[in-house]
Structures are given as structure tokens and as C-alpha cells.
């Protein structure tokens, strides 16, 4: 297997890590006003992801940074073509990151309510944007022979990509609710579980829709198999959740996103960006890959770096593994 293909898989892996990890913390943010009935409960929710959201976000930074190093053409074309959706993602992420840190820094109802709004918008917006971008990337961009966008600044907005946006949002909602159920105790736990069960069957449909759209256009028999697996995992996740087995449900949500990413990247291969203008203009793994030397260096770095990341991030989750509830939240202490 050549290194360019290895890097295609590594980048799929980073996206997978991002969607899985930030998926639930997006969900927690989106559901903040729904599941958090009072200030204490909202604090419980924020604190379920408090120690980890920042580390989760780095998966995006690394997915994009690694694309720059391994496939400069892919990085350049995708980011410049999707200028405005990306701007929305960035603004959302900026607001969200600041909001988590600043929300509890002043003891005033208005202050917290405003930051809660920023968290909610800052979770919906990037989830929508990332879904839009990924599905657009897989379905194809209107690019010319030089890899530049020929369509308008708004060409990212089509019904298929909007379906993609809803797919990630829907997944994040369910994933976030399952995570809250897994990480909390008491009232909020059962409410989160009920919510996931109620919205689950509907919220996961856009993901199925997206996978079907992608498969009918570029699928092969093995990717169809993966889609089947995704459906089974999603159903099982809800079944386990209704039985109160939140850990298993959460693990099955991981299978859902693994399967979805595999199906999407499987459909993309061997292109990195299909051109909707002319298939001959499509960017491929081979045509955009960096030199073998750069890929070799990067492979060494990722070979040591990525497992280390898994170990110490795993340790973080272990350290903060205890469920929390309203009784665990210390009183507000601000100057």
C-alpha cells in the first residue's frame, strides 16, 4: 500500500475522531436549553464535556492541518471553494470556545443566558457547516482543471449538502443526548434518555438519506454492506438505550459514525474531490499527494503522535469517568 493511500485513510481517521468526539459535545451544546431545565442542570451539562471539549476540537485542526501537509491541493481547493460556509463554522467555533470559558466568570443571569445562546448557536452552526462541507466534498465541487471553483460563492448549498448538514446535526443530537444520559445521574439522566429515544428514529434519518444518496451515485457492494451495518447499529443503540444500557448505546453510536465515515470516504476513493464540471478535473489521491519524502516524515510523526493522543485523551476520559449530577456542582464563586 503506498503512503498516499495511507494518508487518505489517516485523514478519514481524523475526521472520524472529530465527528465522534465533537459530535457529542456539539450535541450537548445544542440540547443545553432543552435538557437543562434550570441553571444547575445546565451547569451539569456543560461540565460533562468541560474537561474534554477543547481536546476534541483539536481533531478538526489536525484533520485540516494533516490535509495541508499530505494533500495540499485538496486542502487549498476545498477551503477556498467553501469560503463562506467555513467562515460560519469558524465564527461558531470561536463563540463556542469562548462561551464555555467565560460563561461562569460573572454571576449574573443575563450574562449566563447570553453565553448559553452563544453555546447553542456555536454548536448548531459548526455541526451544520461541517456536515455541509463533508457531504459537498464527497459529492463533488464545481472545479476547473486548476482546482479552482467555477461556481458561485453559494454553490455549496444544494439539497444533497443540506441533507448532509442535517445528517451531522441529527447524529450529534442523538449522540449528545446519549452522552448526557451516560455521564449524568438523577432526573437529567432519565430525561436525556427519553429524549434520545424519542428523537432518535427521526434524527438519524438524514444520515441514512445522505448515505443512500452517496451510495447510489458512487457506491460499491462493500460500501452497501457498511450502510447496512450503520442501520443495524443505530437500531441497536436505541434498543440498548431503552433498556438503560447507556454505555452500550454510546459504543453503538460510535459504530454508526465509523460506518458513515467509512461509507463516505469509501465512495470518495480514489478521488479526494470529484469535479462536477468534468470528471477529468477531479482531484485524486495521486494528483494531490505531497512528495513521498514528506509523506514518509508525516507517517513517522503520525505513527508516534496519534497513538499517544489516543492514550492521553483516553486517560482524560478515565480520570473524569464519574457520572455527575446537580449535587456535585459547587456553588458559584466569582469576584
Amino acid at each position: 500500500m503506498d503512503l498516499a493511500l495511507v494518508w487518505f485513510l489517516i485523514i478519514a481517521f481524523f475526521w472520524l475522531g472529530y465527528l465522534f468526539l465533537e459530535g457529542f459535545d456539539f450535541g450537548v451544546g445544542m440540547l443545553l436549553p432543552v435538557l437543562g431545565r434550570d441553571e444547575k442542570e445546565r451547569r451539569v451539562m456543560v461540565n460533562t464535556i468541560g474537561p474534554v471539549w477543547d481536546g476534541n476540537e483539536v481533531w478538526l485542526i489536525v484533520a485540516v492541518g494533516a490535509t495541508f501537509a499530505a494533500f495540499p491541493g485538496w486542502y487549498a481547493t476545498l477551503l477556498s471553494s467553501a469560503y463562506l460556509p467555513l467562515l460560519a463554522v469558524l465564527v461558531g467555533l470561536i463563540g463556542r470556545g469562548v462561551a464555555f470559558e467565560y460563561r461562569g466568570k460573572v454571576d449574573s443571569v443575563r450574562w449566563r443566558r447570553n453565553w448559553d445562546r452563544v453555546i447553542v448557536i456555536g454548536s448548531w452552526l459548526p455541526a451544520l457547516g461541517v456536515g455541509l462541507l463533508l457531504s459537498w466534498n464527497v459529492l463533488g465541487l464545481p472545479i476547473d482543471a486548476a482546482g479552482n471553483r467555477v461556481g458561485s460563492a453559494f454553490s455549496a448549498f444544494q439539497w444533497e449538502t443540506l441533507l448532509g448538514a442535517l445528517a451531522i446535526v441529527g447524529f450529534s443530537l442523538v449522540h449528545g443526548a446519549v452522552f448526557v444520559a451516560l455521564k449524568t445521574e438523577g432526573d437529567i439522566r432519565s430525561r436525556a434518555r427519553r429524549l434520545a429515544l424519542r428523537i432518535g428514529p427521526v434524527a438519524l434519518l438524514p444520515m441514512l438519506g445522505l448515505l443512500l444518496v452517496v451510495q447510489t451515485r458512487a457506491g460499491s457492494s462493500w460500501t452497501w454492506l457498511v450502510v447496512g451495518l450503520v442501520v443495524i447499529a443505530a437500531i441497536l443503540a436505541l434498543v440498548f438505550l431503552s433498556a438503560g444500557r447507556e454505555g452500550r448505546a454510546f459504543a453503538l453510536m460510535a459504530v454508526v459514525i465509523i460506518g458513515s465515515v467509512v461509507a463516505l470516504f469509501g465512495a470518495l476513493y480514489p478521488d479526494v474531490i470529484p469535479s462536477t464540471v468534468d470528471p477529468a478535473f477531479s482531484l485524486t489521491i495521486e494528483s494531490t499527494a505531497s512528495s513521498p519524502y514528506t509523506l514518509k516524515v508525516m507517517t513517522w510523526i503520525a505513527g508516534f503522535g496519534a497513538p499517544a493522543v489516543l492514550v492521553y485523551q483516553g486517560w482524560t476520559y478515565w480520570v473524569f469517568r464519574k457520572r455527575i449530577g446537580t449535587g456535585h456542582i459547587p456553588p458559584v464563586r466569582v469576584p
Partner: protein
């Protein structure tokens, strides 16, 4: 304005803004880890209070550094896609390494540090502080290695019109980077030092001042850090200068407004006249004779090339006119201006040095005036210390403005001893976007950043003012055991 101008403004604004946050975070993170080490080793509660207080301010600031950093990474692809395609093979590597080897560590261990108080064993918790703070320094290293490659491309060969990396080691040990890194890191500590001094003096000169020991120690630490970092800044700045005379002679000629080649050349202290005219006929400089020769080549007699001669050289090597290419917009077919914006470069250089020196002077004065338990009653002392907080920030910003403006019109500056063809005009690097797109993001990001700046200053002031009581409730024993079911820390 065309896409090029807008994209450059956006890059300038977002970068300078990002670099207001980052130095304070880096400097404070390491100092806070040091304070916590002192606490773990001595058990003196004074150090715990310092750790908590300065750590809180560091956190308020860190959030902003992170979120503005994401914009930086995306911006290359968004606004500078042609640049990204050209340099990705070499420039992308240190950027990706930063994410994989440094930024992951930083963000994960910061989470552990914030939430791990009383949850992790003391020494493990301390190790998290060090992991986090050293990773911020490592981050800076990779980013500066990437930037230095743009200033002085090494470790590459030209294949099919694009630089291809041949040695990552050469890129990571680029002499430009090895000089820039200690210089920049010292700049970070200068910021943190002045910050410590300013806030500590403010508390010490209050009528009701509590926790005197904490503020005295902070003041001393800040003062010493400020002075040591200035010494380091001067030494590394001199090394950088000498390298730049070799690698980017035009940048240094512009920094000195040196029009005509001189031997020996004098160092310009102050220039009067019209710097905006590149022929600089009207520039009168007050100079220290022969000093520039020394700064450039370590002797007082050598020749230093002026703007005029350098322009001729550049024209011969890289052409007189931009090629006719619609992608270049207004610049297509126009003469190439090899002289960077003179007023910005000239004054940027002077403001960097001037404000840096002012910061060191303030640190020295603060240490002298507070020696052996003294505390001047004059309100001017307090005002000066507070104003002193700003000086290294200003110096840092002008340093970056100088170094980035001074390399125009190149985005990848040709390396005189490197491979032919490994260079790029800034105008060539920009994405083929609509003006509307870039203008939208320029306006949105600038507004968002402005709002965030107001918020951050508001919170920093509030927490700095509140002092120790704001981070540790008074009267409670330091290492008080919490009931098992309550979190030691929660958002």
C-alpha cells in the same frame, strides 16, 4: 480594494490579534507551572495562591488564543490557496506537526489541569501543568519554523515548478528559525513579566492591601523575567539582524531607510521627511556613524547595500514586471515594487526596539523602587506600572508587522544561497475569490474580534482587581478536602 488587499488586511488583522493573546498565554503558562512547582516543593501557601491567581488570568486569555488560532490555520487554504498549493509539501509539514505533537497535548492537559485540582495526585497534577505549558512552547516552535521557511526557504528542491521537501531536519533547524524562536519566546516572557509587575504593583499600592507576600513575590518574579527576557531579546535580535542582512537585505535596508549603498553605513536613529517615496530623496536621517555596518557584519567598516542597488539586483533576478495574468488582477503586467512599505517597515522596526527597551526599563525601575520592602507612595509609580503592561505587547506587534511587511512583495522570500525558483510573489498566492466573500469575512472577523477584545479586557480587569479573593475564598485552608461528591472545579 481587490481580493489581494482584502486578504492581506485580513491576514494582518487576525495575526496581530492572535499574537496579542498567544505571548501572554505562553509566558504565563510557564511561569504558573513554575509557581505550582514552588508550591509542591515547599508547601508554602503563598505559591498556591500565586498559581491560582495567575492561572485564572492565563485561562481567561487562553480561550481567546485558541479560538483565534483556528482561523489562522484555515486561512491559508481559504484566502491563499495558490500559496498553499505551491508550498504545501514543505510548509504544511511543520503545521501538521504542531497539531499532532503540540496542540493535542496542550488542549488535553489544560483540561486535566483545570478540572484536575484535588482530583489528581498533586505531582501528577503538576506534571499536567508542565505538559501543557511546554507544549505551548513547542507549538510556537513549529509555527515559527513554518514562518521562517517562508522567510528563508531551506531543505527543498524544485520539482515541476514546486518546492519539494528534501530534509525536514533542515527545515526544523533553519538558522532563521533558530534565531526567531528564542527571540519570539523571549518576547512572550517580556509580556508575562510586565503583566506580573503591573498587576502586582496595582495591588501593592492599594490602601487596603492584602496578601502582600503574594504580590511582592509576583512583582519580583515579573521584574526579573522582564529584564532577563529583554537581554535575550537584544542578543537574539542582533543575531536575527545579521542573518537578515544576508537573507533579506531589502528588509534591513528598508528598516534603516538606507537609500544608497554606504561604506561604512550609519545606523538611523530618527528619520525626518517623506518616507513614502521609494527614491527617498527627501529623507534626512539622524545617524550613528558606522553602527549599521557593525550590526550587519560585526565590523565598523563594511559596506551595506542600499535600496537603490538592491532594487536593481532584484529586477535583474526576478523581473521588472509582473507577468500578464488575469489572476494577478490590477497588478497584471505592472512594474514590480521591490521596496516594502517604507514608513511601516522603518517605524515598525524602531517601535519594536523602543517599546521593548521601555518594557525592560520599567521592569528595572520597578525592581529598584521596591527593593528591600520599599513601596513608593507616588500615584505615578502605579500608573507607570499599569501602562508598562502595554509596552511589550506593542513591541511584539510591531516586531511582527515589521518582519511581515518587510518581506513584501514576496510571500516566500528567495533564499540567496538556496535553490533557484523557490520563491513566490504575495500577489501570486491569493485565492481566486470574489471580493464579496473576502470582504464579508474581513468585516465579520474584525467585528467578532473587537467584541471579544472588549470582553477579555473586561474579564481580565475584573479578575486582576479581585485579587486572591476572586480565586480562593478568604479564610479557607488551602488544601481543604472537598466532600467526595462535589467537584473541586466546575465551569
Amino acid at each position: 480594494m481587490d481580493v489581494l488587499d482584502l486578504a492581506r488586511w485580513q491576514f494582518g488583522i487576525t495575526t496581530v490579534y492572535h499574537f496579542l493573546m498567544v505571548p501572554l498565554t505562553i509566558g504565563l503558562a510557564v511561569l504558573v507551572a513554575g509557581m505550582q512547582t514552588a508550591w509542591v516543593r515547599t508547601g508554602d501557601v503563598k505559591y498556591l495562591k500565586m498559581t491560582k491567581f495567575w492561572g485564572k488570568l492565563m485561562l481567561v486569555n487562553f480561550a481567546m488564543g485558541v479560538v483565534t488560532g483556528i482561523v489562522q490555520e484555515f486561512q491559508f487554504g481559504m484566502s491563499w490557496s495558490a500559496y498553499s498549493r505551491f508550498v504545501g509539501d514543505a510548509f504544511g509539514a511543520p503545521l501538521a506537526m504542531e497539531g499532532l505533537l503540540a496542540f493535542f497535548v496542550e488542549s488535553t492537559f489544560l483540561g486535566l489541569w483545570i478540572f484536575g485540582w484535588d482530583k489528581l495526585p498533586k505531582k501528577v497534577h503538576l506534571a499536567c501543568a508542565w505538559a501543557f505549558s511546554l507544549a505551548t512552547v513547542l507549538s510556537a516552535y513549529f509555527i515559527l519554523a513554518a514562518n521562517s521557511w517562508m522567510q528563508h526557504p531551506v531543505g527543498v528542491e524544485l520539482v515541476d515548478g514546486r518546492p519539494r521537501l528534501t530534509s525536514i531536519w533542515a527545515l526544523l533547524t533553519n538558522n532563521t528559525a533558530l534565531a526567531a524562536i528564542p527571540h519570539t519566546i523571549a518576547g512572550c516572557f517580556a509580556v508575562a513579566g510586565a503583566f506580573l509587575v503591573g498587576v502586582a504593583v496595582w495591588h501593592l499600592t492599594r490602601r487596603r492591601n492584602e496578601e502582600t507576600a503574594v504580590w511582592r513575590s509576583s512583582l519580583k518574579l515579573g521584574g526579573v523575567v522582564g529584564m532577563v527576557s529583554f537581554a535575550l531579546l537584544a542578543v537574539t535580535g542582533d543575531i536575527q539582524g545579521k542573518l537578515m542582512f544576508e537573507q533579506q537585505p531589502m528588509k534591513m535596508a528598508a528598516a534603516e531607510a538606507l537609500c544608497h549603498t554606504e561604506q561604512p553605513a550609519g545606523f538611523s536613529v530618527f528619520a525626518i521627511g517623506d518616507l513614502t517615496r521609494p527614491d527617498c530623496e527627501n529623507v534626512k536621517s539622524i545617524t550613528v556613524p558606522a553602527l549599521l555596518s557593525f550590526l550587519a557584519h560585526n565590523d565598523f567598516t563594511s559596506e551595506v547595500k542600499g535600496i537603490e542597488d538592491l532594487t536593481k539586483e532584484y529586477k535583474a533576478k526576478y523581473g521588472e514586471f509582473y507577468p500578464v495574468d488575469p489572476q494577478l488582477g490590477e497588478l497584471s503586467g505592472q512594474p514590480i515594487d521591490y521596496v516594502p512599505n517604507l514608513p511601516v517597515t522603518y517605524w515598525g522596526f524602531r517601535f519594536m526596539i523602543g517599546f521593548g527597551a521601555l518594557a525592560a526599563l520599567a521592569a528595572a525601575a520597578a525592581l529598584w523602587l521596591t527593593r528591600k520592602g520599599r513601596m513608593p507612595a507616588s500615584p505615578w509609580f502605579r500608573r507607570a506600572a499599569l501602562a508598562g503592561i502595554a509596552t511589550p505587547f506593542v513591541a511584539n506587534s510591531f516586531g511582527w508587522i515589521f518582519t511581515e511587511t518587510g518581506r513584501q512583495p514576496f510571500v516566500v522570500v528567495p533564499n540567496p544561497t538556496g535553490v533557484d525558483g523557490v520563491w513566490m510573489f504575495t500577489a501570486r498566492g491569493v485565492s481566486g475569490l470574489t471580493v464579496g466573500e473576502v470582504l464579508t469575512s474581513l468585516i465579520v472577523l474584525t467585528l467578532v474580534y473587537a467584541a471579544l477584545a472588549v470582553l477579555e479586557v473586561f474579564l481580565l480587569r475584573r479578575y486582576a482587581r479581585a485579587g486572591i479573593a476572586g480565586v480562593m475564598p478568604p479564610g479557607k485552608p488551602a488544601a481543604e478536602k472537598k466532600p467526595d461528591d462535589e467537584l473541586a472545579f466546575a465551569y
